[in-house]
């Protein structure tokens, strides 16, 4: 990003750690959302049923699709905001 000020190496590391933290947070939210949507809470057995497995796969795919949309929307809004104002 052209406008980012120079970061010291420790600040660089902070940025990298931050990226990891954000990704981890996203993963945890995805896991919880899909667990709630797909897994039966009665816990009759330890194995995933076929239905549960398929549900988890699709849930993850859809969650990530929403994630991508957020990224696209944000980029669009960001680009719009960064345009010089028409005066």
């Amino acid at each position: 990003m052209a406008f980012t000020p120079r970061l010291s190496s420790s600040q660089q590391k902070q940025m990298e750690q931050l990226e990891l933290d954000v990704m981890q947070d996203m993963y945890n939210r995805l896991s919880e959302a899909c667990r709630n949507k797909c897994i039966s809470k009665s816990y009759d057995e330890g194995e995933l049923s076929k239905a549960e497995s398929v549900c988890l796969d699709r849930c993850a795919a859809k969650y990530l699709e929403v994630y991508e949309r957020v990224g696209k929307k944000l980029t669009a809004m960001y680009t719009a905001q960064m345009q010089p104002p028409e005066k």
Binding site: F3, T4, P5, R6, L7, S8, Q11, Q14, M15, L18, E19, D21, V22, D25, M26, R29, A33, K37, C38, C55, D57, R58, C59, A61, K62, Y63, E65, V66, Y67, R69, V70, G71, K73, L74, M77, Y78, Q81, M82, P85
Partner: protein, 88 residues
């Protein structure tokens, strides 16, 4: 300079840039979760249905607009800065 630009640039302070990025990243994840919970109802397929996509787009826009507005109000009320009139 718009509030958004100021926020993103962190006023040239590297630590502020990092803090803003953290804020931004968290908001990103919150919006993703919210819009998934509210809009995605069917798991018969691996990709979003048309109505789910539309709902998600609207949800994302609305949540970002709300976030922006809240931030402006917060800066104004709590910090005494009006980002819209602050000189660039």
């Amino acid at each position: 300079m718009s509030m958004f630009q100021q926020g993103m640039m962190g006023g040239q302070d590297p630590q502020a840039v990092i803090n803003n990025m953290r804020q931004f990243g968290t908001m990103f994840n919150i919006v993703t979760e919210e819009c998934f919970q509210r809009c995605v109802y069917s798991l018969t397929d691996s990709s979003l249905k048309n109505d789910e996509s539309k709902c998600a787009d609207d949800c994302i826009s609305k949540n970002f607009n709300a976030s922006n507005r809240t931030m402006i109000m917060f800066m104004k009320e709590k910090l005494g800065q009006d980002p819209l009139t602050q000189p660039g």
